[in-house]
Symmetry: C2
């Protein structure tokens, strides 16, 4: 058995800069998980002392998450994960408004889970984004006001490029039109302040330093939802969720909220340094809004570079990064987000800084990136361009 | 933070006999989880070293579970949990056979998740069970052979009363009729040998000493399934599963399989002792098949007793038990399993022995139960009956 600190890269000197959506566990999440495994391993639906103790931990977790999100405890539900939250929110909110119509208004840069869920639940209507990845508030508001709209979905911030969306303005329009607004805050909760202008809000513990295998969906009490799928005691997590995971997620959120502002400015400065350094590399586009953005995400697209090759090249030199153009075993398509923005979909590299990422690590990354890009261009025979 | 051994009751002297569906973690599962948290916390779909390491752990987990179930690695899928496995299996297998019809043949004692999924996916056709909780193989086989059947579902063993079902015979009939058979082995895997006569098989890590928050669904390669719900890279677990949970589940299964036969005979002897002792209490029905049964489950229904009151009475005396007639906050109906068997649905108590349950604990339970029953009857004013 390995004795490396769980949740941290176990190879010395290695720099992990791919922390969006699956960050290392916060140390307090680890402690909370152990505590909850000791005290809350039983089924919280049972009547005996062990069951009641598990139920109390789960209630406490809901309460803590609700406080962090500006919601009431009974408005917060745990789900099997962020994708499950988004699927359930789109399906159940749309089903509850069948009479209003089947239209689901989305921005073009929503997560694939929202786009696919909209296709299944009704008729997807897409509000285009600009080259920075931002939807125009007036355009989306007009789409929300159109007849036959059951639901609108607008992410708080885009996890691939960092751009923050005009959630408040669109929510104003949605409220006036009587259309519920789903806000995907999976890339922003724990990193920046999240507005309270939402009707349904999905948040991702695995992104803020909590565990994967549990998600959060908050639904305002005023929002009607209709259960979809087979009947279950818990329509948001059929069969129930793991209490230790939910508890660890809540403790991690409290922990990251406690020093969020300091971490926000620290990481924002590092990201600005990276964006400035990378802009000096020839034939690069620094992607996403330079101002209204997540503090910890930086994204670039390089001309004459294959994204998968660049990820591999950096990996061999000790740096783990993400890419919107690298193919995993099962995803052979480049990022729909980059395509919707009209920026280069190949040669893309994305970094998301963890709370533990140091300035020294960022500087080392900036130092190796130009040569890595040059080597990949060399391999592709475009070194002289 | 508590320093009790995680996954074990933290109150000294307390006896936890409600281990069906949510057992304490096996110690090796705990170790495996820590190892996987160190080495496999990253997203297994990413291309860098951390992602590939997580993917290898996940592949290893699938391989280990497949070996234990007599399946091929590529036939095994992780899901968000046992209920999710059952929902997905019923929905996707039924959807793939739309042309055959919408009939879903089930036994009357399947889990609620199967019954509700069958109602949503098609038209449920129920094969009744006898007073021991067993379906008649000929009756169910005839139902499977009838026109218009898309899917049949028969559990391997009933987790509430322990009765083993004639899975082999029904699978013979199903194969001859070209109807896939879903076997819910959520109460039996890790406790008894599981037959390989299935087309889809669902198994529950939380029942065998692995974590909650992850499930297992195996589908033979010959079985057609159609994706249901929004498109996703992983149709069985949209968004992917937690690698540490899957790895811990697999290691726990290997561990319990390693001494399954010894644990089976040890616990069977204890359960026979309990069943014999309880039968001496006046006005009791010892429920389920005396022979063809799970080795670790024992269930009784007492006349003139309220199940919820008896669970509470035993809890106050240090014993945690389950009940098919106790109401949780959200389930106000008594067990549909007991109702289908035609036995008393009130005054029900169920115990499921963990691998760590000792003979001394079982004897203490047998010693306190008669007085607890008498006290509850006294409270209800039927002490003299």
């Amino acid at each position: 058995m390995s004795h490396a600190t769980p949740g941290t890269p176990s190879t010395p000197g290695r720099v992990h800069l791919d922390n969006g959506g699956r960050a290392p566990w916060h140390p307090l999440a680890r402690q909370a998980f152990e505590q909850a495994l000791a005290d809350g391993w039983a089924d919280p639906r049972r009547l005996h002392a062990e069951g009641r103790r598990a139920a109390r931990l789960l209630d406490g977790a809901r309460e803590a998450v609700a406080a962090a999100l500006g919601a009431r405890t009974q408005e917060v539900h745990f789900t099997p994960g962020h994708t499950a939250s988004l699927h359930a929110a789109v399906a159940s909110a749309t089903a509850a408004r069948r009479r209003a119509g089947a239209g689901v208004v989305v921005s073009g840069v929503e997560r694939a889970a929202v786009l696919h869920a909209a296709d299944v639940a009704g008729e997807r209507r897409t509000a285009e984004v600009d080259r920075l990845g931002r939807v125009d508030a007036d355009t989306m508001s007009a789409a929300v006001r159109a007849p036959g709209v059951a639901l609108a979905a607008l992410q708080h911030a885009n996890g691939e490029v960092g751009t923050i969306q005009p959630v408040e303005a669109v929510h104003d329009a949605a409220r006036a039109a009587g259309v519920p607004l789903l806000v995907d805050a999976g890339a922003s909760v724990g990193h920046v302040a999240v507005p309270e202008t939402w009707d349904l809000l999905a948040a991702d513990p695995a992104d803020w330093g909590g565990p994967a295998g549990v998600g959060v969906l908050a639904a305002r009490q005023r929002v009607r939802t209709a259960p979809v799928g087979p009947q279950d005691e818990d329509p948001w997590a059929p069969g129930g969720v793991s209490v230790p995971l939910a508890f660890a997620a809540a403790v991690a959120l409290q922990a990251v909220e406690a020093d969020r502002v300091a971490q926000e400015s620290r990481r924002r400065a590092l990201v600005e340094r990276v964006r400035a350094q990378v802009a000096r590399i020839p034939d690069v586009e620094v992607v996403g809004d330079p101002e209204g953005r997540l503090p910890h995400v930086a994204t670039f697209s390089f001309l004459y570079v294959d994204g998968e090759a660049l990820v591999t090249e950096l990996d061999q030199h000790g740096f783990a990064v993400g890419s919107g153009s690298a193919c995993t075993a099962s995803t052979l398509e480049p990022s729909h987000v980059l395509a919707a923005m009209g920026v280069l979909t190949h040669g893309n590299v994305r970094i998301a800084l963890d709370r533990t990422t140091t300035a020294e690590e960022v500087d080392r990354f900036c130092a190796v990136l130009p040569d890595a890009v040059a080597r990949v261009r060399e391999m592709l025979g475009v070194g002289g361009l």
